[in-house]
């Protein structure tokens, strides 16, 4: 699909996903699990489609759905699939609590509830002619994978594309099989590092910020998408600033407690922003004065 103009990427337009959503925004729609693939010891990718046969909603890279496991609860899960492809929605989920564990256990044929998509998106449309630098830590690769796929699809319109991935250990890297392909893809400069490794790992060992200094991009033309644990994003943002990228061009994906995703439960607030609406993707310039404040 060709580049979307900013007008076509109005988040509220794509966010009203179904006729029912506007009437009762808290009521989930049944979605069937089509496929379930294990990524790491505690992470699975589920592919979902509407149980009533209607087309799955379109989404912008960076947006999330609220996924409901029957009788257990709901959790905000980023969409991790290709935003240009019509069809079922991919979600990569880590089992960290009762809801996410129940979601991860859902076998093909099971139905989950889904509300969405919600939230802001990675500003790819504005990245034409720029050098896109993606820095992903741990599970953070999942919410930014849609932006990576979309960037690869419109690579000619970009000045460059760099992907830097950090993980705990080689066994905990996400999408390891796809990463082999990305490493060989001439459209993409890939850097991968782990915090610790056993002998046999021939790649980098060290925190992901150690990859930034030598990464091949022109700071004056760069726009960065950063996602991972908040500590990692803080230090990565600093390393990118040190290399000369403007705070308005450093975009982060923030995570906060969410129950409604429609700016009414009040829980996802971060300073004046609602992570479910102004976020999860926010620029450092927009949130800079709040980002370093402890317990905000």
């Amino acid at each position: 699909m060709a580049n979307r103009s900013p007008a076509e990427t109005d988040p509220t337009a794509s966010a009203v996903a179904s006729p029912g959503a506007a009437r009762a925004p808290m009521t989930p729609r049944p979605f069937r699990v089509l496929a379930r693939r294990q990524e790491t010891a505690d992470t699975w990718t589920l592919t979902l489609e509407p149980a009533d046969g209607a087309p799955a909603p379109r989404f912008e890279p960076g947006q999330f759905n609220m996924l409901y496991a029957f009788g257990v609860g709901e959790a905000p899960i980023s969409i991790s699939g290709d935003p240009d492809a019509d069809g079922p929605l991919e979600h990569t989920v880590r089992a960290v609590g009762p809801v996410s564990t129940a979601i991860c256990r859902a076998e093909p044929g099971t139905e989950l509830g889904l509300r969405g998509p919600f939230g802001s998106s990675w500003p790819l449309a504005a990245a034409a002619g720029r050098h896109v630098v993606i820095v992903a830590g741990g599970l953070g690769l999942a919410p930014v994978r849609p932006a990576l796929l979309a960037a690869l699809a419109r690579r000619e319109s970009l000045a460059g594309l760099v992907l830097l991935c950090g993980g705990r250990s080689p066994g905990e890297l996400l999408y390891a099989d796809q990463m082999v392909g990305w490493g060989q893809d001439p459209r993409l400069e890939l850097g991968v590092t782990v915090d610790a490794a056993e002998r046999g790992w021939s790649g980098h060992v060290g925190v992901v910020t150690t990859l930034i200094g030598a990464a091949p991009f022109d700071p004056a033309r760069a726009v960065a998408f950063v996602v991972g644990p908040e500590v990692m994003m803080r230090f990565t943002a600093q390393a990118l600033l040190d290399r000369g990228i403007d705070p308005a061009d450093i975009h982060l994906s923030l995570e906060r407690n969410m129950k409604c995703a429609v700016t009414q439960c009040g829980r996802c607030q971060f300073g004046p922003t609602f992570a479910c609406r102004e976020g999860p993707v926010m620029s450092l310039a927009a949130i800079g004065r709040f980002f370093g404040v402890r317990e905000l």
Partner: protein, 155 residues
């Protein structure tokens, strides 16, 4: 092939050093090549040398019984390996192993130490620059310690 002195000027750790000191330090260095898997240094050995990597990747490792050799960091082109030559007890605190073929400059730390004692100005400059290297590594190590990607413990 470029001289060690020319190379040193491009290494951030040595950038801006006065020419006579660069010449002096370069004079203490020799080019060496390490085969894949060969050790540049071993934990516990006397630390009388340090290295500057010209090409290739070096892994810093610590052997933990039952856990094999854990790679705690890898260093690449332009990186300085080893600071224990400057500080007592002058002993390597980790293994440094060439992951692939590595071309490096080996510096005679023992000799340089003597020269630092004679010329406090040189001593200050080297101390300052190696402290900066350690600071960078310490900060990175602290981040590794946080285990940010680890599974959250339910509160």
């Amino acid at each position: 092939m470029r001289s060690i002195e020319d190379l040193l000027q491009e290494i951030p750790t040595f950038a801006g050093l006065e020419p006579q000191w660069l010449e002096l330090i370069a004079g203490c260095g020799l080019n060496r090549t390490f085969a894949p898997g060969e050790h540049l240094a071993r934990e516990g050995d006397p630390a009388d040398t340090f290295f500057v990597i010209r090409h290739g990747r070096v892994a810093l490792e610590i052997g933990a019984p039952g856990a094999g050799d854990l790679m705690i960091e890898t260093l690449g082109e332009g990186a300085v390996v080893g600071w224990s030559w400057l500080f007592p007890p002058h002993r390597w605190s980790f293994d440094a192993r060439a992951v692939e073929q590595v071309r490096a400059i080996v510096f005679d730390g023992a000799c340089l130490r003597g020269k630092c004692d004679d010329d406090k100005g040189l001593g200050y400059e080297l101390m300052r620059r190696f402290a900066a290297v350690m600071l960078d590594r310490l900060q990175a190590t602290r981040l590794q310690l946080l285990d940010v990607y680890g599974k959250p413990v339910a509160g």
